[in-house]
């Protein structure tokens, strides 16, 4: 498993995302509620770029007239046909066993720890005072 330092945590604003080319793949990293999630930037249905997907909430209703929002910003609704996925693991909402987006483990580490190495992105300047987003592929 290779670890790639792709960005400073401050490079991806809360609620936003950024796409990184890693080993020839486009990986999109979302920043939601203080956490980072990395997914292949391609909808498994028809190839739409997931960076353009809407970040939505899980909406449940135990009975008519009552509804609850949870996991705000953690679910993706694709920009084209509206297929929905869980950002945390890439599973589709409608067919979790069969259809999912490839997801990658993400870690956040301080520059101080990273400078101890070993790390992959030798060309990426790492400063002791910053924290960084690491993708494992």
């Amino acid at each position: 498993m290779a670890r790639h330092i792709v960005a400073r945590t401050t490079d991806i604003p809360p609620g936003g995302n950024k796409v990184f080319g890693v080993d020839g793949r486009d990986i999109v990293v979302f920043h939601v509620n203080g956490e980072f999630f990395a997914l292949l930037n391609r909808c498994p249905h028809a190839g739409a770029p997931l960076e353009k997907a809407a970040c939505v909430a899980r909406l449940t209703s135990p009975e008519p007239g009552v509804y609850q929002r949870s996991r705000v910003g953690e679910l993706l609704r694709c920009a084209w046909h509206g297929w929905e996925f869980d950002m945390r693991n890439g599973q589709s909402y409608f067919d979790p066993k069969r259809v999912k987006i490839r997801s990658y483990p993400v870690a956040v580490e301080s520059g101080e720890e990273l400078q101890k190495g070993p790390y992959i992105a030798e060309t990426f300047p790492v400063h002791v005072e910053d924290s960084y987003v690491i993708i494992e592929t």
Binding site: R42, C43, P44, H45, A46, G47, A48, P49, K52, A53, A54, A79, W80, H81, G82, R98, V99, K100, I101, R102
Partner: protein, 370 residues
């Protein structure tokens, strides 16, 4: 993992991909601002547009009877960074759609202002005429890949013919578009003068789904949900195919070519099987038909592919293509709408090189004389 997008790609498909360019038979340009088309309208109708606005043959003003799936029924990523609605910025359309998908030609289909659903037929004709001019000035003149269609709402047949004549003289349009939900079924006698003129001019007749007629969109009445209404696009197309065939349009206008746009194609086999069976039993009622309905369908009608069907078993899509015939199908993307089909991934079953060449390019090239 997903077995949806990762279908096997035949070696010959992979080889063909690099040199096969796409003809997209359904591209939607949008009006950036009303002022863009006002310049093509007489003052009388400019004032009407400003004072009275758009009034449709449905009981709602300023909205549609159903909540559509996304704002302006568009892909979320199709809103131009320069502002304006999806499909209104040519440079962005080039960058997002025409260039990356290697679109050789795109056939323009304009739906703005509910052009075919206006209650006031004269106003409808005025905006159709303005949009016909706007398609050339704002799109075809600036981007030769994009080909315009003559919008001619058929319920005022005289106005429709006058507009067809006017545009045909200009000579840069590739088809005549009429309303899919007119006041009467499309095979009815009142519309024949339009078909006669289209045949004489050698222009295909395009019928793009959508809009609201004066009738319920399904044979069963008014549905409750958008998903039901969206489903009804295919019903409408099946009803119009039945009307056109059984009222004898291909027999009366044998050189007329008819294109069904955005109705998909999954419903065609069962519709033609049933027509054939009924024809065999009841042919004495329709002696104007000399051949079985399916024979007319296989010679006079074309169908764009989007929204493509996605059966759980992709082999069933394979069967559908064989039943309808690769000769009858024209690739269409519906850009920039939400139910867009990407030419690379829409067909979740392998196609032979010959089929690909026909569906993605050759059929449209011959039909529209591109």
């Amino acid at each position: 993992m997903s077995d949806v997008i990762d279908r096997p790609i035949l070696a010959e498909e992979a080889a063909a991909r690099s040199r096969l360019r796409i003809i997209d038979c359904d591209v939607h340009p949008s009006i950036h601002a009303h002022s863009d088309i006002e310049q093509f309208m007489p003052k009388r109708w400019q004032e009407h547009l400003r004072t009275y606005g758009s009034h449709l043959r449905t009981p709602y003003i300023g909205t549609t009877p159903y909540p559509r799936s996304s704002p302006l029924i568009a892909r979320r990523d199709a809103w131009p960074p320069t502002g304006g609605p999806p499909g209104s910025d040519l440079d962005f359309m080039r960058k997002q759609h025409l260039d990356p998908l290697d679109v050789e030609f795109g056939i323009l289909q304009v739906l703005d202002l509910f052009i075919f659903s206006q209650q006031n037929l004269e106003f409808g004709a005025a905006i159709q005429r303005a949009i016909n001019d706007w398609q050339l000035a704002f799109w075809s003149d600036r981007e030769p890949r994009l080909k315009a269609s003559i919008l001619a709402g058929q319920d005022d047949t005289q106005l429709a013919i006058a507009e067809i004549e006017r545009c045909a003289k200009i000579g840069r349009y590739v088809q005549i578009n009429v309303c899919p939900r007119a006041n009467e079924p499309l095979g009815r006698r009142r519309y024949w003068p339009i078909y006669e003129r289209a045949q004489e001019l050698g222009l295909p007749l395009g019928i793009h789904v959508g809009g609201y007629g004066g009738h319920a969109p399904t044979g069963g009445g008014w549905p409750s949900y958008y998903v039901e209404e969206h489903q009804s696009n295919a019903h409408t197309m099946a009803a119009q195919l039945t009307s056109l065939v059984l009222e004898g349009i291909p027999e009366r206008f044998p050189k007329l070519k008819i294109v069904f746009i955005e109705g998909g194609f999954g419903w065609i086999p069962s519709a033609t099987w049933r027509m054939d069976r009924h024809f065999d039993a009841f042919r004495s009622e329709v002696p104007h038909l000399k051949r079985r309905p399916s024979e007319y369908v296989k010679e006079h009608f074309w169908f764009t592919t989007q929204p493509i069907d996605e059966p759980d078993d992709a082999r069933h899509l394979r069967s559908l293509i064989e039943w309808v015939g690769a000769d009858r199908l024209l690739f269409s993307s519906d850009y920039p709408h939400w139910d867009f089909d990407d030419p690379r991934y829409a067909f979740k079953t392998p196609l032979t090189e010959t089929e690909r060449a026909k569906i993605f390019n050759g059929n449209a090239r011959a039909l529209y004389k591109l």
